[in-house]
Amino acid sequence: MTDPSAAVLDTLTTTEAGTASRHEAGFDGTLVVLSRRNVAAGVVSLELGPRSGEGEGGGEGEGEPLPAWRPGAHIDVVLPTGITRQYSLCGPAGHTSRWRIAVLREPDGRGGSQWIHDNVHEGTELRVRGPRNNFPLRPAARYLFVGGGIGITPLLPMIAEAEAAGADWSLLYGGRTHASMAFLPELEPYGERVDVRPQDQHGLPDLAGFLGDPDPSALVYCCGPAGLIDAVEARCASWPAGSLNVERFAAVTGQQPVGGENNPPIEVELRASGMTLTVPPQLSVLKAVEHAGVPVLSSCEEGICGSCETAVIEGEIDHRDSLLTEDERAAGDTMLICVSRARGGRLVLDL
């Protein structure tokens, strides 16, 4: 298993057009860090809650309740440096007095995770937005969870829910070393259902053995580094459509091919499917949409053929294709999502 290198997470997601994915009014304000714990080498967990109300004699976390959420949800943390990062909620699902996230220190990132590791303590205030859910857990008789490194975070509340629902589930949890793998103590009570595979002891996890043959009654949920997700996708190619649900935590590292100023991450709302994706610099909107399980036609993936043409409802397009004419570009109501991006960080697509 490769380094999850995903502390600085640009989440990108994937689901069938899910009911649970949402856009509803969430929280947007300041939360205070109620606790900070080291949960593995390089990983801290933070609990965030409202500052206790005045005159309520309040202990910590007894202010206004936070919005409810479902497993798979994430929040945005807006750092004073201006960087926004997404972190999955990993405390007990639906907890409305405090939210828990986990942050892996990413030395090669753009500094978001480092800043949190170095500057955030109990009592620190952080600007938070959310929650949003691009990775909702859908009902199934059986679940196969695959987590890599910090990708375990969204799976924790899913597992709790699957367990509570009496579903048949199992987890394959990979990481670099035992010490780098967070939340092992919380997983221990589940016994045999959990297979912990630190790479330094076991090598690469046995996905073929874990996933087995296509099972129409099962849903696969996977989160972790790109290499793991790609491997799971390859394994699940013969599964019924919609079986696999992944959330990509794309590392923002020095190796972005076209990254930086030119290619900032963008937020893409798929109006018809009711979900919002964050598209990291190194991924095309087309790929992001595909990963989200929304079917789109494509062929050349170079902005030539026009098969991926998509109507744009809102947002300013950064056209990078060869096909559209100047008039079509200026009209701003259509884009070739295989290459084009957004100016201004946000697009609403008719998908």
Partner: protein, 353 residues
């Protein structure tokens, strides 16, 4: 609803094809009957008798220009109004649908859509067909393939390298990228080949030996006209010393997935050289036959394609893809009750491909 744009000019016939006899030709899935009135003006009416739909083109035209249906004898005057039925006294209320026509430079242009929208200024410039400094040959070839395939064939001349290797194609064509321009609905491309080997047709047509410069500038005037401007010169001598040729294609949808492939091939040098004219005409027909064979083979594959697989495209498809979009947009506009063909604007180059 027809799958073809109707609000636009199509080449309906060459002038010499239409006289004082009735000629049927299907255009955009409509039967059309062409004929000339005694004053030589050309007329085109829907080729269905308003009585019981018998084809009027199977009827008769008299010396006064009265058209008679040969089934039950309805007669129509030059404006398409019914002027009587056989020997009966009562005159039925009936009129023929007449299509807007323009006869110009030896070509008859027809507007199969809404007559209110027919606008002569949208016709492409064909004055070279009538220019004493030029000579040309022309005709029409039947094609059992859809209009769009012919359009894409003409907008992507890289196929010359592979489909016409013994006449007009050689490796230089496919190897030279094109510039694509869009002007409203019109799509143009140009390809500048310099210092290339002379393809056989140009060697013989122009007496040139390699190396030559060869320029192709294509214009698609949607929905149905393509004009290719060809200039060939010994390398180093640029315009205006080169040999100039033009090819016009009228791509007129017929019935179902069939198309009338009108052509005219012109040149501005050795215009009295009949032998050269004959040679060029034969070559033109031979090249077109290669295209017709290819397009008919391709038509079968499109017609039987169960769908579900995307086409693959490359950069040299850009002009054809733009042309396809223009047609689709015109069709969409037309289905929303707006004019199909839109006017001129200043051409501006876009990107190199």
């Amino acid at each position: 609803m027809s799958q073809h744009v109707r609000n636009g000019w199509y080449l309906g016939a060459w002038s010499h094809e239409i006289g004082r006899t009735l000629k049927q030709r299907w255009i955009t899935d409509m039967p059309v009957c062409f004929y000339r009135l005694p004053d030589q003006t050309v007329t085109a009416v829907e080729d269905r008798c308003p009585h019981r739909k018998y084809p009027l083109s199977l009827g008769h035209l008299d010396d006064e220009g009265t058209l008679q249906c040969d089934y039950h004898g309805y007669r129509f005057d030059g404006r398409g109004a019914c002027v009587g039925v056989a020997e009966q006294t009562d005159r039925p209320k009936a009129a023929l649908r007449r299509f807007p026509l323009v006869e110009r430079d030896g070509a008859i242009w027809i507007w199969p859509g809404d007559p209110e929208l027919a606008d002569e200024s949208l016709l492409p410039d064909t004055s070279w067909l009538n220019d004493p400094g030029w000579t040309h040959v022309h005709g029409v070839v039947p094609l059992k393939a859809r209009h769009l395939l012919l359009l894409e064939n003409l907008l992507d001349l890289t196929h010359e390298t592979f489909l016409h290797p013994t006449s007009i194609g050689n490796a230089a064509v496919a190897a030279t990228p094109i510039d694509v321009t869009v002007d409203g609905d019109r799509v143009g491309f140009s390809r500048r080949m310099t210092g290339i080997e002379a393809p056989p047709f140009y060697e013989k047509s122009c007496g040139l030996t390699s190396p030559v410069d060869r320029w192709q500038d294509g214009e698609f005037h949607p929905p149905g006209v393509f004009i290719l401007h060809i200039r060939v010169a010994a390398t180093g001598t640029e315009e205006p010393e080169g040999f100039h040729m033009r090819v016009l294609y009228g791509m007129t949808p017929a019935r179902g997935n069939e198309t009338h492939d009108f052509y005219a091939l012109g040149r501005d040098y050795l215009i009295d050289d009949e032998e050269l004219t004959t040679f060029q005409h034969e070559q033109q027909l031979a090249v077109m036959q290669e295209d017709v064979d290819a397009l008919e083979a391709q038509e079968l594959m499109y017609a039987t394609d169960p769908g579900g697989t995307a086409e693959s495209s490359i950069k040299s498809d850009l002009a054809a893809l733009r042309g396809r979009r223009s047609l689709m947009k015109m069709l969409a506009r037309e289905q929303h009750g707006q004019p199909g063909q839109q006017g001129d604007r200043t051409a501006r180059p876009t990107e190199s491909v």
